[in-house]
């Protein structure tokens, strides 16, 4: 397809509409119908989060966020996400390096296996760790005899979150590294650079936007994970409640404003993720089509 596209099409920004358009009546009918659908299913919920959070004014909103249980929920969410993201970044980079730079038997199988957590329901994702480490689980007796707690404690939350966000960084990096090819790294190696040096000086700067986006996506998913952590957490207030679990508790207690206050924080995170996505897409387009745009300032 790239071979037949004219230079103008390559240089145009992604959303450039066609020159010849359908008749105005068709156009505007479709736009209105689409607008109503999106308004109902997208904008309405988005607005409702903030409307409900601020229903009793800024004072109540900020007070809800300063509650000690809220603070511990926020801290716990940040901690679990940080660990999950770090683990999955190391994995993602290793997997992308192996898959994008080398050809080996079973590569497609590996890619399919990496995608597995995507197709597992969140509840099942949490459940398998209960089956492993729960009181009646495979390792339950062993853990109990050493007084180690994984389920109904923070390690369980970390495991469940890591499982759920397992593929994000790898999936983001693999196409990026494949698109970039191996020429630069091979040149570096033939010039005498070692493996780590090649990676840090050549590969990392090239993939930094894809990596950043993968981290942002992984983090957003980790902080928002609900089903899996719900299964492993035991809902122990102040101890094993992440922000989504805390929202559930508040909501079921009819403390709607507080629930929506915490929810608004997560919604802001989601919006930030979307902004970051647009930015990264814009940057990678510029990076992969340097002949049509001004060269990056040597960054």
């Amino acid at each position: 397809m790239a071979a037949t596209a004219s230079p103008q099409v390559l240089a145009a920004p992604r959303l450039e509409p066609r020159v010849r358009t359908d008749p105005a009546l068709v156009r505007w009918t479709l736009i209105v119908v689409g607008g109503v659908f999106l308004g109902l299913f997208l904008f309405l919920p988005l607005a409702a989060v903030f409307a409900n959070a601020l229903e009793r004014g800024w004072g109540t909103y900020l007070a809800a966020l300063k509650e000690p249980e809220a603070a511990s929920a926020i801290r716990l969410t940040l901690l679990t996400s940080a660990i999950a993201v770090c683990l999955n970044v190391v994995f993602g980079v290793a997997a992308a390096w192996a898959i994008a730079k080398f050809d080996f038997l079973g590569k497609n199988l590996l890619i399919t296996l990496i995608d597995i957590p995507f197709s597992v329901s969140p509840v099942i994702s949490g459940m398998i760790f209960v089956l492993l480490f729960g009181a009646q689980g495979l390792f339950g007796g062993w853990l109990a005899s050493r007084d180690l707690k994984i389920i109904f404690a923070v390690p369980g939350l970390v495991l469940a979150t890591t499982f759920v966000t397992f593929p994000f960084v790898a999936r983001e990096l693999i196409p990026v590294m494949q698109a970039l090819g191996s020429e630069e790294e091979e040149a570096a190696v033939t010039l005498g650079a070692g493996g780590w040096k090649t990676f840090f000086r050549i590969t990392l700067p090239n993939i930094k936007w894809g990596l950043l986006y993968g981290i942002i996506l992984c983090n957003a998913r980790a902080m928002g994970e609900f089903g899996a952590v719900s299964v492993v957490s035991g809902h122990i207030r102040g101890l094993t409640n992440t922000m989504p679990l805390y929202i559930e508790i508040l909501y079921n207690d009819y403390q709607f404003v507080s629930a929506f206050a915490i929810a608004s924080l997560l919604t802001l995170l989601a919006l930030l993720t979307l902004v970051a996505k647009s930015l990264v897409e814009w940057k990678t387009e510029r990076q992969l089509a340097p002949q049509d745009s001004v060269r990056e300032e040597g960054s």
Binding site: T4, L15, P17, R18, R20, T21, D22, P23, G34, F37, L40, L42, L44, A48, V49, L87, F91, A98, K101, F102, D103, F104, L110, L113, D115, I116, F118, S119, V120, S121, V123, I124, M127, I128, V130, L131, G134, Q136, L138, T162, F163, S182, V189, G195, M223, G224, F226, S230, V231, P244, L245, E248, Y251, F256, F260, A263, A270, L271, L274, V275
Partner: protein, 283 residues
């Protein structure tokens, strides 16, 4: 001699270092985090007798939950198929105010935590919610009914169809449309006979992805569903309830069946995508 060596190696020779380390860590971490935990599901299910397994999987409560989960997910995927195509169409082909903003926001259901989606949709569609009160005047009850489940699942699946179709629509060669137009085809004919076949693979892929996602969904549905057994209980919730009651065996049985179906769908999507790429694309 060199040929024989090539056949005997499992990996093509490369000058780049780090293969062993990267692949080794990848496989180790994969086994530790994914494969071993998932295997417990099979191990637990295998510990049951066949009658026990079958009984758990086909209990009336389980069957009712499958009906709800699969049925609502199917309807939601259908709604998203129709409107997703429409949204992708207007985003790619037309110009209107705030188009880029809308395009960015399409991913919101993907980025928003499911618990947030759950409480906001429930609040909106409950009897005294903004949308729920208006619908109540028309005699339609959404919250705590299967209809509410469908609304939540439609929200969740929204980005999948749109994002699957958008790239294909974008890369369509305007030449074939203009050729059809110059040969006398009207708008509908051009759409149905020229464009739709091009979009069909991506359309089906996107809809299947939306369906698969809706099937396993828990957070956004569990608030609005009402969760009454045999009536508004989705399968993931049934699994959760069984875990709470320490019926690990029953939960594993149902989870296994569910997992197999989800994997089947994923494989189907992969197969469809591979078939599509093996055919030459017009333009």
């Amino acid at each position: 001699m060199a040929g024989l060596t090539m056949i005997l190696t499992l990996k093509k020779r490369s000058v780049l270092p780090g293969f062993g380390l990267a692949l080794g860590w990848t496989l180790f971490y994969l086994c530790l985090m994914v494969l071993i935990p998932l295997s417990t599901l099979f191990i637990k299910s295998a510990s049951m007798s066949w009658t026990q397994f079958w009984g758990a999987v086909t209990s009336p409560r389980a069957l009712a939950s499958y009906r709800l989960s699969f049925g609502a997910s199917f309807v939601a995927a259908l709604i998203n198929a129709v409107f997703g195509l429409l949204v992708a169409w207007i985003l790619v082909r037309y110009r209107f105010p705030f188009r880029r903003l809308v395009d960015g926001l399409v991913d919101l259901p993907f980025a928003l935590p499911t618990a947030v989606a759950g409480i906001v949709l429930t609040t909106l569609y409950s009897q005294n919610g903004w949308a729920g009160s208006r619908l109540a005047k028309l005699g339609v009850k959404v919250a705590y009914t299967p209809l509410g489940v469908m609304v939540a699942l439609t929200f969740i699946g929204l980005p999948f169809v749109v994002r699957s179709i958008q790239p294909v629509l974008q890369d369509l060669d305007i030449g074939i449309e203009e050729a059809a137009h110059s040969l006398g085809a009207n708008l509908w004919q051009t759409f149905r006979r020229v464009l739709l076949p091009e979009l069909l693979p991506a359309w089906i892929t996107g809809s299947t992805l939306a369906f698969a996602r809706a099937l396993g969904e828990y957070g956004s549905v569990v608030f609005i569903a009402g969760n009454m057994p045999l009536r508004t209980e989705i399968t993931p919730l049934l699994i959760m309830t069984k875990l709470d009651q320490f019926d690990y065996a029953g939960a594993s049985a149902i989870a296994l069946v569910f997992l197999v179906v989800s994997f089947g769908l994923l494989l189907l999507v992969n197969l469809m995508q591979r078939r599509r790429s093996s055919f030459p694309v017009l333009g």
